[in-house]
């Protein structure tokens, strides 16, 4: 019993670390650009498919990682520049951007279905093999995932707090007019934030794919989970996303283990509802 629980915890922590990256991307985009990217899950899947393609070309793990970054960067940048930016001038930009990103999401998901077919694709793990600690078996790959994910989070947080660009992003998120006043090029910041979120979600996809495969249908699950974590942690707070991701990753693992997989999605929804009713600003958020 305890053994099972520990394994469940490990699974939850592993997933949680990757969820943190993806939630960070979402909280950034929403906080900075005020646009909700419904196609976020589809970007996730895109990252997975590119990874699968590159592995098919016999790239090694590091090369795949390095190749995914500029591709996802371009994907995010183009999406913002060509699809979302034209809408900003209009008064009804908010509803239009929601419609267009959802349309994009469904377009991409269908595109994957058409190009890659409905069957899942698998990606090789970074490391094979297991480690025995105190009688518990932990896969080395899981350890690698947590390590890489946390490293990415640390780099991200350093970028946001120390670099000029990171500071500019936070400025735009906190007071858009103030950012304009100071001479920050808002449009460029919007585009780069989108690009950054695409990279983050692509990285997340690469980390999770070996365990959970790449499928055309997985996108919206990721979208909902990322958003619930974002809301639970507090919109605009990276720290919040970090905490929330681990907590909810563990909760998901426990619910899945106890009640079965079909109930996990419902559990996420319950958490969302609970947060919105009891504490809409989330753990570390500053506004609802």
């Amino acid at each position: 019993m305890l053994r099972d629980l520990i394994e469940v915890l490990i699974s939850g922590i592993t997933n949680g670390s990757v969820y943190a990256i993806m939630a960070a991307g979402m909280t950034l985009v929403y906080g900075v650009t005020r646009v909700f990217n419904f196609a976020y899950g589809s970007f996730f899947t895109l990252g997975g498919y590119f990874a699968w393609l590159f592995f098919g070309l016999k790239f090694n793990y590091l090369l795949v990682f390095v190749s995914i970054i500029p591709i996802m960067f371009l994907v995010g940048l183009s999406a913002e520049t060509f699809i979302i930016r034209p809408l900003r001038a209009r008064k009804d930009w908010e509803i239009l951007s929601v419609m267009v990103t959802l349309g994009l999401a469904l377009f991409l998901d269908n595109l994957y279905l058409v190009i890659f077919g409905p069957f899942v694709k698998s990606i090789p793990s970074l490391f094979e093999g297991y480690v025995k600690i105190q009688g518990f078996v932990i896969s080395i790959h899981d350890i690698a995932i947590v390590t890489i994910a946390i490293s990415i989070m640390v780099i991200l947080m350093l970028f946001l707090s120390r670099s000029r660009q990171g500071l500019a992003m936070r400025a735009v998120a906190q007071d858009m007019t103030g950012a304009e006043i100071v001479g920050i090029p808002k449009d460029r910041v919007f585009a780069y934030t989108f690009a950054l979120s695409a990279i983050l979600v692509g990285a997340g996809s690469m980390l999770l794919a070996p365990k959970y495969f790449v499928s055309p249908a997985g996108g919206f699950d990721i979208l909902v989970k990322s958003w619930v974590i974002t809301v639970f942690g507090g919109v605009g707070s990276i720290r919040g996303s970090l905490f929330a991701a681990f907590i909810l990753g563990i909760v998901e693992a426990i619910v899945g283990f106890t009640f079965g997989l079909t109930w996990t999605l419902i559990a996420w929804f319950v958490v969302l509802l609970f947060t919105l009713i009891v504490r809409p600003q989330g753990l570390f958020g500053t506004e609802a």
Partner: protein
């Protein structure tokens, strides 16, 4: 230095500025008076690129800046200090100031300007690590002004810096603005009503209902009945 001609700006369908024309010469401190809601802030925002006029022209050193983005306008040397301040609430005082120096021209002078800002506003120096949302009203105004100075601007458009402050603080703020002007920065200052503001001004404009109702210097203002009655209530 700055010449505004026949500016028309709208807010949705409502015309806020009607054929407004003003000018500020080098190193002048020009004060714009007028009742609330009559377009003073709109004028400043239009000059600084936050709003786009429907017609008219704005020239800075004979260069047309009417349709430029705020980023470009800031790089040309014009900075806006908003009435709402628009500080970054979760960033520290120091981070706010550093962001003030975001534009390319200001980056080299960052150290120098920072020292000047701390000299002018010693209270800010004590609070560098505090987040901007925890500042008092007066300190927030100082931060907004300081951030504006960090941009290395030659021309500052300052909107109601003394609003909501206690009378002695108000005088202090206006003195500081005068000092900044003495240092060589041209200033367009918007103020509601204040004999002190009248005092530090080189020239004055009075704006009513989106139009310039009066322009002149101190003597003309004090001698002319219109201004006195309409405004200072004398």
């Amino acid at each position: 230095m700055l010449r505004v001609e026949k500016l028309d700006t709208f807010y949705e369908e409502f015309q806020v500025l009607r054929k407004v024309s003003i000018s500020i010469n080098e190193q002048e401190l020009v004060v714009l008076f007028g009742p609330n809601g009559h377009g003073k802030s709109t004028l400043l925002k239009t000059i600084c690129g936050l709003l786009t006029p429907v017609s008219g022209s704005i020239k800075y050193n004979d260069v047309e800046i009417t349709k430029l983005t705020t980023k470009n306008i800031v790089e040309m040397g014009i900075t806006y200090v908003a009435e709402e301040r628009n500080l970054f609430p979760q960033l520290t005082v120091l981070e706010n100031l550093k962001l003030g120096a975001y534009n390319v021209n200001a980056r080299q002078k960052e150290e120098e300007n920072l020292a000047y800002v701390f000299e002018l506003f010693p209270k800010l120096k004590d609070r560098t690590k505090q987040s901007a949302s925890t500042l008092s009203g007066g300190e927030a105004r100082m931060l907004a002004m300081g951030r504006g100075l960090m941009s290395n601007a030659e021309f500052l458009a300052i909107d109601e810096p003394s609003l909501g402050l206690a009378p002695n603080l108000r005088i202090e703020v206006l003195n500081q603005i005068s000092e900044i002007n003495q240092r060589g920065v041209s200033i367009l200052l918007v103020e509601q009503s204040s004999p002190k503001a009248l005092d530090i001004a080189d020239r004055i404009y009075l704006m009513e209902e989106g139009e310039i109702a009066f322009q002149g210097n101190k003597e003309e203002a004090l001698n002319g009945n219109y201004f006195k009655e309409a405004f200072l209530g004398m």
